[in-house]
């Protein structure tokens, strides 16, 4: 057997695990590891400009590919800088392995230089963490970390490694395990057949069904099966912010996103439904509005790989714990069997009435059924997303930051495929978009990658323009420039009498064109609607260049629909500044 140092074991284990990229930043506690990577490691390392960006880039990579993203940071500030990105991945169940350096074992607990209790700090925002005490334990620990991160309900795993464990002068036998078994960890492999049968019956008996599909469908690779199920039954589908692309948006059966800024028809259908099939969704407060008033007439079937997600906020009538693919496969065959016995299932007349009702809702206030935004002599933010959609033919990977631009992108870019919409839904992390786009572009260099952002968000990780230069990642940054922290301003308009406490930048915004150019990129400014499509075309035509498209948009626009809170139900929405349900 081969003899390797701890540092070399890490380099080799990442190769053996089939890792494509390491996103990281060096420092004292990880220098042995970096030296090992430098000497002999086939896995390319992407040097970011801030550890937060390393986690977001790894996260973007993971969301786009389904494979765990890998991060390497040093102890102390390196580790703490990674925290926001770890929490972001945790909230959205994204597989990630974070290797953090730690001070040498004999210094732990002494407030040593750059010491921080990474296991402690990260505890509430990781799926699991390890502190490695001996180099011999590295291969099995790394194997376990990848296994835990990617299986069951995925999530980030931290491996904290004291510097002495990676020292180059002590070598040990290395063998990377083929697989691991852990007595304390065994995620569900399949759903309960009896429950699935009951659910199939309930679903077929529904008169006003809705399929409510979340990020679990995307992460669990269940899109095709879900689409099949929906089409076989001709049932309407709505996606959560995290689930967009899990069902093709251009399908007639798609109701759009639901929730706080969800589509009118989606929220109305949910509220009036008699049977909700929730798949890989978690009844988040941004979806349900007031839980006590949530969908009063609906029975709930809830499929999730994480039992703790079921009946956490909304009680499930039929809980089914299991991976989405195996459960949906079994459900499809149960449904087929039931329909073979009774060809009149589901009730076609009822379904027809239901669809008629839905079409009425769509015609009245559907975002894709008529123009729902105001006229302006400025470009409307929605028009920018529509232009992006046209120019990229709906086939781009779109990352976003957090704010109004994020909601406009979610509403107006119609995602037909899973893993194309990459955003921080759970934690809502401004600064996510650009580094995530880097991760996506590295994963798919031949695909178009757009980062839809705002002036506030983009400045939270703007330094990554430099990373894009170093690694030639020609993403397109679409800045919806409204000169405000727009979403904050919207709330201040609606709830604080228009008092814009700290949501304006006065005249302090940088010249983004020059800024992009300073990093060696292309900057373009658009102020007129007439120029929008041409500029968008041009930006994407510059295939090998990062383009920062600074689009001046209407400064007053709000995102609608918007749930009325507190105390509102799914059907209580503002539809425009002066129109409500």
């Amino acid at each position: 057997m081969e003899l390797l140092s701890g540092g070399e074991m890490i380099a080799r284990a990442l190769e053996d695990e089939g890792v494509e990229y390491i996103f990281g930043y060096p420092g004292g506690a990880v220098l042995h590891i970096y030296d090992a990577l430098f000497k002999d490691c086939k896995v390319p390392h992407i040097l970011v400009r801030h550890e937060q960006a390393a986690t977001h880039a790894a996260d973007g990579y993971a969301r786009a590919t389904g494979k765990p993203g890998v991060v390497l940071v040093t102890s102390g500030p390196g580790a703490t800088n990674a925290i926001t990105g770890i929490a972001t991945a945790y909230m959205d169940s994204i597989p990630m392995v974070v290797i953090s350096g730690q001070v040498a074992s004999h210094l732990i607990g002494e407030d040593a230089f750059q010491e921080t209790d990474m296991a402690g700090i990260s505890r509430p925002i990781v799926k699991h963490s390890f502190m490695v005490r001996r180099a011999q334990d590295l291969p099995i620990t790394i194997k376990k970390a990848f296994y835990i991160a990617a299986s069951g309900r995925p999530g980030p795993v931290v491996i904290d490694i004291p510097k002495d464990v990676t020292r180059p002068d002590e070598k040990f036998e290395y063998q990377y395990p083929q697989s691991v078994k852990m007595r304390s960890y065994s995620p569900a492999q399949r759903g309960h057949t009896g429950q699935i049968k009951k659910a199939a019956k309930m679903l077929l008996a529904a008169k006003r069904p809705v399929i409510y599909a979340g990020g679990g469908v995307v992460q669990g690779e269940g899109s095709e099966l879900l689409t099949r199920l929906a089409r076989e039954l001709n049932y309407p589908v709505t996606n959560t912010l995290m689930g967009l692309g899990g069902f093709p948006a251009s399908d007639r059966q798609f109701l759009g996103m639901l929730g706080m800024h969800g589509f009118y028809e989606a929220n109305m259908a949910m509220h009036h439904s008699d049977c909700i099939l929730a798949v890989g969704a978690r009844f988040d407060d941004r979806v349900t509005n007031t839980v006590a008033k949530f969908c009063p007439g609906a029975k709930v079937i809830h499929i999730d790989v994480d039992p703790a997600s079921i009946s956490k906020t909304v009680m499930a009538d039929i809980p089914i714990v299991g991976p989405v693919r195996s459960v949906l496969t079994e459900m499809l065959s149960q449904i087929a069997a039931l329909r073979e016995k009774d060809a009149d299932l589901p009730d076609r007349a009822a379904l027809e009435r239901w669809w008629r009702q839905i079409d009425e809702w769509r015609a009245a206030h559907g975002l894709w059924h008529g123009r729902r935004y105001a006229d302006s002599d400025m470009i409307m933010p929605q028009q920018v997303i529509e232009s992006l959609y046209r120019v990229t033919k709906g086939d781009a990977y779109v990352t976003s930051d957090v704010g109004q631009h994020q909601m406009f992108a979610a509403q107006y870019y119609r995602f037909d495929q899973p893993r194309r919409w990459i955003n921080s839904g759970g934690l809502g992390t401004m600064g996510f978009g650009l580094p995530a786009a880097i991760g996506v572009k590295l994963a798919f260099p031949d695909r178009e990658v757009a980062c839809v952002t705002g002036e506030g968000s983009i400045q939270m990780n703007i330094q990554e323009l430099s990373t894009c230069t170093q690694y030639s990642t020609p993403v397109k940054i679409i800045n919806l420039r409204n000169n405000y922290l727009g979403m904050v301003k919207q709330w201040q308009d609606m709830q604080y009498g228009g008092r814009y406490a700290m949501s304006t930048y006065e005249d302090s915004l940088p010249d983004f064109i020059k800024l992009a150019e300073a990093y060696g990129h292309v900057g373009m400014q658009v102020t007129q609607l007439a120029d929008l499509d041409a500029a968008m075309e041009e930006a994407f035509a510059l295939r090998d260049r990062l383009v920062f498209l600074d689009v001046f948009v209407d400064r007053k626009e709000h995102v609608y629909p918007m749930h009325i809170a507190p105390n509102g139900s799914m059907k209580d929405m503002w539809l425009s500044k002066n129109e409500r349900t």
């Binding site: 505890r123 509430p124 502190m131 835990i148 007595r183 304390s184 960890y185 039992p307 703790a308 009946s311």
Partner: protein, 163 residues
């Protein structure tokens, strides 16, 4: 309702902090907590008591089960079980009260495990209720110090929590 949850978990550094952290992070109560290694040194047995309605308890057990270090757990209060809390209580025992304390201790089947010229240290094991009653019965006595182990519990009969 008060529940006693028994947990078998990996005897790993950090495991306990994950359990305790879960409770504070999610706003659950821990009334008592007791933890020690078992006959298998790779496993720790943890018993905790908490209070909550059925929904809350269901979430607590699900969230606990999700912790990678947790091998198995059981809500002992769902079935017949034995619970024991151990108390050491130091009281001022002088003059007439000396006999009084001794008598009460006997009634509760406690033991005086340390005797000083003016203090007794009493050991008492039983359900939390019993220990509470004993403390109440000592109302006239000057209690100097109380230490309780927290509940340790086990199912009655054949049922076992093991690998």
């Amino acid at each position: 309702m008060r529940r006693i949850i028994a947990i078998l978990m990996e005897n790993e550094p950090g495991a306990l902090s994950r359990v305790v952290g879960l409770f504070s992070q999610r706003g659950y109560n821990i009334e008592t907590l007791n933890v020690a290694p078992t006959d298998d040194p790779t496993l720790s047995r943890l018993t905790l008591t908490t209070i909550g309605d059925d929904l809350r308890i269901e979430q607590i057990t699900k969230q606990l089960n999700k912790l990678v270090d947790v091998v198995k757990l059981v809500d002992l209060t769902e079935g017949a079980h034995i619970e024991r809390d151990l108390m050491l209580i130091k009281v001022r025992a002088q003059g007439a009260l000396r006999d009084e304390v001794k008598r009460t201790t006997d009634i509760f089947r406690g033991q005086i495990v340390d005797v000083g010229p003016s203090v007794y240290t009493i050991q008492l094991a039983g359900t939390s209720d019993k220990l509470d009653s004993f403390v109440a019965a000592m109302a006239d006595v000057d209690i100097l110090e109380v230490v309780r182990s927290g509940v340790a519990g086990i199912s009655r009969g054949e049922k076992v929590l093991s690998l």
